[in-house]
């Protein structure tokens, strides 16, 4: 409220000040700023705006695509399925489509303590252990699955930073990297105040979806994973 009032008063004062200044300057420099020249100036400004519009329309293309309502519906459907599978401890949804990176790690002995450091990144990661009979002793395969992250209609799955996974002192470390900030400049030639209120009222379907990402640790059946933090 205070900010809005301040904005209005600043605008009013600025408009008055500039108006008076322009009028005074106009009177003093009557020979320079004739009505004809002012009209030419204003027309040039409008033409410049038109050129800018033509340039943007023809020569600039945004690399970031906004998902269409039907695509968002599909993501919504997938998201619901993922949650269902997750609740039932069914990993069949972790397909190649979501696989982002695999780490091949080596360790010694039959026990592997796991240290997870999520820091203050705010990430939600589910860790699953899968015993693999075909794996050799001393080998571990850690796979990171990036599930869809849709923010306001934009697929940001590839922007989520990967965790730092490594073996040190015969311990498996899973560390989340620092929070990453992404800035976007959204061009919407409408009136934001109307759009915002109308969207709130209609409760139009949510344009943001995210699921907890999953880390699957494949180890030989002979290995015992020590989870001192009780995270999996």
């Amino acid at each position: 409220m205070t900010a809005t009032t301040l904005f209005f008063f600043t605008t009013i004062l600025l408009v008055i000040a500039i108006y008076i200044l322009v009028s005074k300057l106009g009177k003093k420099a009557k020979n320079i700023w004739t009505p004809k020249r002012i009209i030419i100036g204003i027309t040039s400004y409008i033409v410049l705006g038109l050129i800018a519009f033509i340039y943007i329309s023809f020569f600039s293309e945004s690399k970031i695509q906004i998902l269409s309502p039907s695509e968002i519906k599909q993501v919504e459907k997938k998201s619901d399925q993922i949650q269902k599978y997750d609740q039932e401890n069914d990993s069949s949804y972790l397909t190649e489509e979501y696989k982002r990176k695999t780490w091949e790690l080596r360790y010694e002995g039959d026990t592997l303590p796991v240290v997870i450091n999520e820091g203050d990144s705010g990430s939600r990661v589910n860790i699953r252990v899968r015993y693999n009979d075909n794996m050799e002793s001393g080998n571990a395969l850690v796979t990171y699955y990036q599930l869809p992250v849709i923010i306001e209609g934009i697929d940001l799955s590839n922007e989520v930073p990967l965790p730092n996974i490594y073996v040190a002192q015969n311990q498996l470390f899973i560390e989340s990297l620092a929070r990453q900030q992404v800035n976007y400049f959204r061009i919407k030639a409408t009136l934001g105040i109307l759009d915002m209120n109308r969207e709130l009222e209609r409760e139009s379907y949510v344009m943001s979806y995210s699921n907890p990402n999953v880390i699957v640790i494949d180890i030989p059946r002979s290995t015992v994973l020590e989870d001192s933090q009780g995270l999996f």
Binding site: F7, F8, T11, L14, V15, I16, I18, Y19, V22, S23, G26, W33, P35, I38, I39, I42, Y45, I46, L48, G49, A52, F53, Y55, I56, S57, S60, S62, K63, I64, I66, G122, S123, R124, V149, E152, I154, L156, E159, V160, P161, R179, Q180, Q181, V182, N183, Y184, F185, R186, I187, K188, A189, T190, L191, G192, I193, L194, D195, N197, R198, E201
Partner: protein
């Protein structure tokens, strides 16, 4: 031979509109300057912003919409309309044959023409700002809506026109009969008290929920009412020889 009394109101108003539109042109140049200043001030943050935090990711959206430019243009229209009714501008009326009524009608037409040009200037500034953003931020811009829809265009025009009409009405009211002056002052005072004492009582949500076309029609009707009242007050304040 043509005498002064034979000139119709229509001819007088027509002449005055031509004369005033040219004379007050510096009002439009002041709008261009104000728009450039606000365009530069909001170039980094836009008209508004939104954010999201989660999944190791903080996303910040700077939204570039017409809001700021429309608010600035509407305020400009109000101030300019108010100034049109001041003594300094009324002196200019002496340059052409006029009465208070014809002057008020001419002011209304000038305001309508200027409102239309102001909307075009506003749109120009918006696209110039967007162009600047595209040059600086080539990778992280998202174009959701580049074309201004005719309904938004009409809404912008009606909003600017309404503010101009309110300005003209207010300015003319203080030049009118004492009863009107008292009435307008009381209404203004009550409005300000209501605004500062309980701002939550002013609910425009139901208006916002209407379609753009419907809001535009309402604004234009309100502007028409203000214009009619302006002419009526000007007519009442006419200097007549008894």
């Amino acid at each position: 031979m043509q005498s002064l009394t034979n000139i119709s109101l229509k001819t007088i108003v027509k002449k005055q509109v031509k004369w005033k539109a040219k004379l007050y042109i510096s009002a439009l140049s002041s709008l261009v300057i104000v728009q450039i200043i606000f365009g530069l001030l909001t170039s980094s943050a836009g008209s508004g912003s939104s954010g999201y935090g989660g999944e190791n990711l903080t996303v910040h959206f700077s939204n570039y919409s017409l809001d700021t430019f429309l608010i600035v243009t509407a305020i400009w229209a109000f101030i300019v309309a108010l100034l049109f009714t001041t003594k300094a501008y009324r002196i200019d009326d002496l340059s052409v044959i006029s009465s208070r009524t014809s002057s008020a009608i001419a002011n209304i037409f000038v305001m309508i023409i200027y409102s239309f040009i102001a909307v075009i200037i506003m749109i120009s500034t918006y696209y110039l700002q967007v162009f600047g953003i595209l040059l600086v931020e080539k990778k992280s811009f998202i174009i959701e809506d580049l074309f201004i829809s005719p309904s938004i265009l009409l809404l912008c025009f009606s909003s600017v026109c309404l503010f101009g009409a309110i300005g003209l009405l207010l300015g003319t009211s203080f030049k009118g009969p004492v009863v009107i002056k008292i009435l307008v002052s009381t209404l203004l005072l009550l409005g300000l008290i209501l605004f500062f004492m309980s701002p939550e009582s002013i609910n425009v949500r139901s208006l916002i929920m209407l379609s753009n076309l419907m809001i535009s029609v309402l604004y234009l009707l309100m502007a028409l009412l203000c214009f009619s009242l302006t002419i009526w007050i000007a007519d009442k304040a006419e200097v007549t020889r008894k």
